[in-house]
């Protein structure tokens, strides 16, 4: 992998992250926000793998596994919370659920 490849990969990763972040910011449905979060997480994951490959260092892949585990845990907890919130508040609009504001 050459330096320009790495830069391309990084741009791709940043783009993925930006798409995900935009999704979280723009969407109001909790489910869509969760999906967008997944997209956002894949950006840094790609960046880790690319940087690891460029430096020939297995730590990048290690971090990728960590991100993968994190995403799985986040989906598991997030979906459970989503179901619970749907049941208690009857809505999936994240703007309406603001009972914990300061």
């Amino acid at each position: 992998m050459t330096g320009s490849d790495l830069i391309g990969m990084m741009i791709l990763a940043a783009g993925l992250f930006a798409i995900g972040l935009f999704g979280v910011l723009a969407r109001r449905g909790i489910l869509f926000q969760l999906v967008a979060l997944e997209v956002a997480l894949s950006g840094p994951a790609l960046a880790f793998v690319a940087a690891g490959a460029y430096h020939a260092d297995p730590q990048g892949q290690g971090m990728f596994i960590l991100v993968l585990t994190l995403a799985a845990a986040e989906v598991a907890v997030g979906l459970a919370l989503f179901l619970r919130i749907r049941r208690t508040s009857g809505t999936d609009d994240s703007d309406i659920i603001s009972g914990m504001k300061g």
Binding site: L21, V24, L25, A26, D95, I97, S98, M100, G102
Partner: protein, 688 residues
Amino acid sequence: MASLLPFVPVPALIGFVVLSLLPVTLSRTVVIAIGVGAAVLPAILFAPVALSCLDGACVAGAVVPILSIDAGVFVAQIAMSLDPLSMVTGGTVALVAALVLIYSGAYMASEPLPDLRRFFAVMNLFLAGMLAVVFAADVILLFLGWETIGLCSFMLIAFYTKLPKAVSAGRKALITTRIADSMLLAGLMMLFLSAGTTRLDGMLAAVPAMDPWRLAPIAGLIALGALGKSAQFPFHTWLPSAMAGPTPVSALLHSATMVAAGVILLARLAPLFAAAPEISAMVAMLGILTAAGGALIAVIQTDIKKLLAFSTMSQIGFMVLALGLGAPAVALAHFAIHAAFKSLLFLSAGVMSHASGGSTAIEALRGARYRQPWAFWSFAIGAASLAGLPVITAGWYSKEAVLAAVWSSGPWGVPLWLLAAAAAMLTAAYAFRVVFVAGSQSADLAAPPWGGAAVMVPLVVLTAVAVIGGLSVGTLIGFAGGTEDHLPLLPTLLGAAAPLLGVVLARQLVRHPRELERVAHRLRHVRAFRIEILYYYYFVRRFRHLATVLGNADGTEAVAQAAALRREGVDVPGLMADDPLGRTFGKEAAQPDFISRATDGQTPVVRLVAGDPVGRVLIIVARVFVGSFVARFSPDRIDRAWMGFAGGFGHAWAQARRMQTGRVRDHSLWIALGCAALLLYAWGTSWR
């Protein structure tokens, strides 16, 4: 034989999995059989290992690797070790747990089946976790076991989920120990970073080369973590309320698992603490404080389980004291003997209270000697061992060893010894108080017979250990690598007299219950260990007094006070609604009940304090303060600017709150902006 070691906790773990996860229905008998069998098997499996150890196979210590993860230069190993320490503690844990589980097979048999299954599943996991802590040769396994017992203690203390008291007690135990656990984790991680290995032997080998500035915080954090699990002074509050669980849980939790884990960890890392003398001194101080304080509180308890809980705190305090003074072998010997007699006390107290209408109040046990003679006599022997009656009980030998270690511990030895001996006397007093009450005649002697062989066998075995175990104390100490100090004649005699004196004191306390009440009343201040009572005595009561003086019904007192204040040159603030700072109290002043403008001829001060004296005193004090200090200087422009600046913080705070909209999208925007700012900062500072 050492290779058998990793299999010791396995039956308990299997028992947990089978009982908790299998979706098949099991009958009551099968559940009890699995639960008890899974707890007895570890003891059987450990026996040959222990025997090979006694033959001298483990004096140097053998490490049995289980799993090793290669990550480049760094290797993380999970291993168990067989050395004198794990042999003594492991043997104690396995034996006591087996006996307690045999007992609970009979004790819990009347529970509904799902509860019974849950009970045995969690008890088995508890045992497995404790064995992992005891045998661990690396901090990974150690911490896993440590957290497992924390979780299990939560589930067991809160076992009666329908009692709010039990649930909140479980939560309290979990949260308190979790605070300590986080300190332990921080300490272990710092130790790992300094030593570069997760293996305990490697870490201890790296200690001498470590920077003392680094060593002290590490040792301090680890010590606080261990003291939290062991319910020592700042963290002691969870243990007495942990009595909400079933009796066998208390027996196991107080003798061999959970609270003992802290002692075992401190003993395991003894070289680390030897290298940090100031931390050791702190540990010893907290130990003696808990030993004496716990004994003092136990004397005035009216509930037998609470009494035993404070007794555990106090006895663990003795062990921690020995550890802090650099005598881990002595602490271990006391741990082993204490585990035997404390579980004996809990188990026999359980039988006695079962035969006394299920109440755990000490008064309810009156006459237990005639209803349950077996249980009573085993309790009496356990109490004698706890009190440390000279020569004939095991407790005397191990406590004597602790006292000797205290005596010969340098310049502070003698005063510490005196405190410890006083605590030993109180120990005898509270232990025998129960014996005397339970041994006295009572009107109703009829009680349903209860308890078969499953209850009697553990009691008999533990009674035997509580008596003849004393012969093994010297051997145990030598085996664990320590030397037994021997005291000069005079302190030995005094130490032997202390428990006897305690027994006499107990006799007096029982004969004259009103004296006990008086002592209890006197000790109210000591109970402020519970800080709120101290707070009440020295602060709230005074404050109330002041408030009633200022706010009595017709207001004459208040007027007199105001006049007196004015004589002393203090401007009484109720009259200064027009003062330059009047606006500070503008809102309050606008309320009709605050200062009504003297329509009925009363002065504003009287109106001010008439309604709610306690609440008004604050306002009066604040206004006196403002009137006498602030208002004098306030025409000054600089001061007003300064006050405005101070008031601005309030506004800023009110504005900042608005950032918390409670909307996910706003939060993620702030997070993204913050991350971007951090990245820019990192980029800017690392740019070459």
